[in-house]
């Protein structure tokens, strides 16, 4: 049976979240800026048309934006995280097999779903009606093709937001993949695109039909996997988290089921330390932390509970101590007694290079923390991971990020509820 892997992706997610509570901004061009108003991280369609690029530093496009009356907003991660959690909980009802890939993307395995066509449109309509957020649904036999199908659903209005690659004939597949440039393929970034084009590979179809042994020799096994995924052979399983530069995941299945919160928290503190170490290794910091717990889906007679929650970090950080504190707090919120947890993990998202941080005049920066982290990493690499580790201290600090253009925390703070 052909696998039907769907990728559900929210359109202009941050901008859509902002517009939900500001109907007056329906036709206003909007951009959302990263932490401390550094770069453009989300654009409305109008802002895209004006020529504002994704990731562009705000100071660079500020004049253009002001000329066209673009409204620039600071990131409101509390709002985005809450709406993301709502979308993910709706999607989880459609399949026992889902993978939250980022704050606004989720893979949903719809294999064997009766009336797949109707269901895929229903997913789109339900998310839109329940949360007010538009999404596109791309379906394919592999995750890579599902991502590509989602790209097609987004670009072609005729698809009405849903595109199933599996419904194409061989000839239609070839025609479509010839039209899409190779940089749209999952995992093919700017550098790889350049190198591939030196080998005459510019379209997705070129990559799909490239000589496999050469591809492998030149680009390695990951690229070969991508090629096989494009050919319809699944190589990346749904649970396989392929960390790219935008997120770092640390998770593990437990040796035996975990039934007590302190044990879980201990595990999570290890995952947090590992993820933060990776984050520091690539000299980045994260603005979002997500915790997920899973019971054993292979034991359907046991009660099942697979919660996840994303929280915005008050300041982007790579400090294990800070991130661990949030992870422990979320773990307590998610924890329910009476379940046997098989797996847990954390995901760090909204990752940016440390250089991008524009430090706040009023927010005290802690250079000592960086030195401490360097010392920990040094000792751990010398004497083995875990030589020095963060203990689950249970400290909980609540700060508020200072951002000039941030909308209120409409859904997460009692006194910030929108007035109508």
């Amino acid at each position: 049976m052909t696998r039907q892997i769907a990728l559900v992706d929210c359109n202009n997610f941050y901008v859509s979240c902002e517009r939900l509570f500001r109907p007056d901004l329906k036709n206003t061009p909007i951009v959302v800026l990263s932490n401390n108003d550094g770069c453009v991280v989300s654009r409305s369609n109008e802002a895209k048309t004006i020529g504002i690029n994704m990731g562009q530093p705000w100071f660079e496009c500020k004049r253009l934006a002001e000329e066209h009356g673009v409204l620039a907003l600071s990131s409101n991660y509390a709002l985005y995280a809450d709406l993301s959690n709502r979308v993910m909980s709706i999607l989880a009802e459609y399949s026992p097999r889902t993978e939250i890939y980022s704050i606004d993307e989720c893979f949903v395995d719809l294999t064997g779903m009766p009336k797949l066509h109707d269901t895929s449109y229903q997913i789109r309509e339900r998310v839109l009606q329940w949360t007010g957020l538009p999404v596109c649904v791309g379906i394919g036999p592999t995750k890579t093709l599902a991502k590509l199908a989602n790209h097609v659903a987004k670009k072609h209005p005729r698809s009405r937001g849903v595109f199933n690659y599996n419904n194409l004939t061989d000839a239609q597949q070839t025609k479509l993949l010839n039209q899409i440039t190779v940089d749209e393929v999952w995992g093919v970034g700017r550098r790889l695109t350049k190198r591939l084009s030196a080998h005459g590979i510019t379209s997705v179809q070129d990559l799909r039909t490239a000589h496999t042994p050469t591809l492998r020799a030149e680009f390695g096994v990951v690229m070969e996997k991508t090629q096989r995924e494009l050919q319809g052979t699944a190589c990346i399983e749904l649970e396989d988290h392929v960390p790219d530069k935008q997120q770092i995941i640390s998770s593990r299945s437990f040796g035996k089921p975990v039934t007590s919160l302190p044990v879980l928290q201990d595990a999570l503190s290890v995952f947090a330390a590992t993820a933060c170490e990776k984050l520091r290794a690539q000299n980045s910091h994260a603005a979002l932390a997500q915790v997920f717990l899973m019971t054993n889906r292979f034991k359907p007679d046991l009660p099942q509970y697979n919660p996840s929650m994303a929280v915005p970090l008050p300041m982007p950080t790579n400090d294990s101590l800070v991130i661990n504190r949030w992870v422990q707090h979320v773990a307590e919120l998610l924890w329910r007694d009476g379940y046997q947890y098989k797996k847990a993990g954390i995901m760090l998202g909204d990752i940016l290079p440390v250089q991008v941080l524009q430090t706040d005049l009023l927010e005290p920066v802690e250079p000592s923390a960086t030195k401490l982290m360097q010392a920990i990493d040094g000792l751990n690499s010398r004497y083995g991971r875990g030589t020095i580790k963060v203990s689950t201290g249970g400290l909980r600090d609540e700060w508020a990020m200072r951002q000039e253009r941030k909308s209120p925390n409409y859904t997460t703070q009692w006194d910030a509820v929108p007035a109508v």
Binding site: Q129, W130, V417, P418
Partner: protein, 146 residues
């Protein structure tokens, strides 16, 4: 006196599901058992009662006096469910020409109106060129008395 066998005649099954016990919310004293102990239940959770659909429910604060006839006053907190299809006579949070408004939803014989519950505000008849949608249906009003 016969010697009691300590081995059970049959293996004792391990239950597939954890045995969930009701919580007894008071100290258990030696002596007479509490007559209520067998009847303990989970305390009422307002979240469960007021929120039918967690993913689709949002809170809004009331501004103005157009709905006082329905017992909705300024600064009240409205529970709004987006997943409910608006029906005639529901109180809805609507978006009319890109602005939020809370009104009673009238839909009869092809006529759609937003009706205030305060005589000083006339009903608003939705016209052809209006940009109109229902954002969600109001399910509860939380009115503070102190």
């Amino acid at each position: 006196m016969p010697i009691l066998s300590i081995s059970a005649p049959n293996p004792i099954p391990i239950l597939p599901n954890p045995l969930v016990l009701d919580v007894c919310g008071w100290p258990v004293v030696a002596g007479f058992p509490s007559p209520a102990a067998d009847h303990s239940q989970k305390r009422i959770d307002l979240n469960d009662q007021l929120v039918r659909n967690k993913a689709a429910t949002f809170l809004f604060k009331v501004k103005g006096d157009s709905m006082i006839g329905a017992g909705i006053y300024a600064n009240d907190m409205l529970v709004v469910d987006r997943s409910i299809e608006p029906k005639h006579n529901n109180i809805v949070l609507a978006v009319l020409n890109n602005e939020f408004t809370v009104k009673r939803f009238y839909r009869r014989g092809g006529v759609v109106k937003l009706i205030a519950e305060n005589l000083i505000y006339p009903p608003i008849v939705i016209k052809e060129g209006d940009d109109f949608s229902v954002w969600g249906v109001v399910t509860y009003n939380l009115h503070k008395l102190l």
